[in-house]
Symmetry: C2
């Protein structure tokens, strides 16, 4: 089941497991926050762009099993690892993985057929800073293989008439996220900032937009990861424990 430096880790919700290779990347809080934030409804067809280990599809399925999720991932060796994770969890009925380039998402998966597209894309601009990591790590961190506009353009193309696009990113990129969403026909509808602590600048932002949606954005209360004493906040503890998940799965 495991290859090379891979290991099996526990994935927070409903006893899920995830195979990870720490030389590539391990799932982050960011994926958990996006899976917690995105609006997912029973019956949804979902695509996760740049799915990596499959962490976001797994966490979305943990919210409701009445979904069909496709994870798109460009790297063959990552897809191989993610496939074994889906089998390990017995979720092949709910999650399928497709190898392909985000830039060609609509050509690969078809136009206008999905209710929700999620993505935890690379955050850094391609040109900023030196890149000294492995190619897989580098492509997960910086816009080497695709950029924010690619994700929004292709994501929008995959969505049906009232489909939702949910992203997590750095607040420094928020103006671009909103601009591209509106340019490609997605109206930003809900937004939430993640703060390491109260009284600091936010580290992350969650944004969900609706294709052809009515104007009007709801900015949610701040989500603090730690409280002022340095412990996880109440909400963060609830997220980790999965206590917000419906009892019946």
């Amino acid at each position: 089941m495991l290859k090379g430096k891979e290991r099996v880790d526990s994935l927070l919700w409903r006893g899920l497991k995830i195979i990870q290779n720490p030389e590539w990347f391990c799932f982050s809080l960011d994926a958990v926050l996006l899976a917690y934030f995105a609006t997912v409804r029973p019956g949804d067809r979902v695509v996760d762009l740049g799915t990596g280990t499959g962490v976001i599809p797994l966490l979305l399925v943990a919210r409701t099993r009445k979904v069909r999720i496709t994870g798109l991932e460009i790297k063959a060796e990552i897809i191989d690892m993610a496939r074994r994770t889906i089998s390990l969890n017995g979720l092949t009925e709910f999650i399928s993985l497709v190898q392909g380039d985000i830039k060609n998402s609509t050509a690969i998966l078809g136009l206008g057929q999905y209710d929700l597209v999620t993505s935890n894309p690379p955050y850094a601009r391609a040109s900023t800073g030196r890149i000294s990591m492995s190619p897989i790590k580098a492509a997960a961190k910086a816009e080497i293989l695709c950029n924010l506009e690619d994700v929004v353009r292709e994501g929008t193309g995959l969505l049906n008439a009232e489909g939702r696009l949910a992203l997590i990113h750095r607040p420094s990129r928020l103006a671009e996220i909103i601009f591209y969403m509106k340019q490609y026909g997605i109206e930003p509808k809900k937004m939430r900032f993640i703060y390491s602590r109260p009284e600091k600048e936010p580290n992350l932002v969650l944004v969900e937009g609706i294709k052809n949606g009515k104007k009007d954005l709801v900015v949610y209360p701040p989500l603090y990861v730690y409280d002022l004493s340095g412990s996880y906040s109440k909400e963060m503890t609830e997220i980790f424990s999965g206590s917000f998940l419906p009892k019946k799965w």
Copy 2:
């Protein structure tokens, strides 16, 4: 000095006074927050769009007297009142008032000559809700005489090559603010949300953009008006007291 129902109120900083007519409108926290947030530098030429009583020019001059500020206001009776306020404070050298329509700002004040444009525009869309107030109150609250796009378009036109546009608005309009800024060539550079209390949704958002600016937005820490005990927060108390103002004026 006073006409009809007018009264003279104290305006927080440096002992300034303001003439207000409570039947029209009285200065709000929003104007104070914008004047506190906007980047104003010695030597700046500034325009305040829809200046009303002149509250924003007065508060900006309280930050530094090394500026020349023009307040644009459409209503003759309001300009008349604001002019008397400027005289009362002995600030005619620093603040001038021009009667005119925001939609024609660049035709009235010229293209590309200002370092900073501020505006506390009407927040509500023209079509939402019934309008039962006086025409002056109504035009201050809803987009009857001008809308957000007018403010951003004309504001951008007034600015020189690296000029700044600083606005306060409802978070529900944030996607439009960012979209129009980027569409007209302003890059959003700093943003701050105002929360009535921690753990609630924000009530207001401050945004400042730079004409032809480099991409990269800084989202500031939350500004809480009240703390959890219901008292004014420490920062709000500092804002009201003007303790952050430079000693030398």
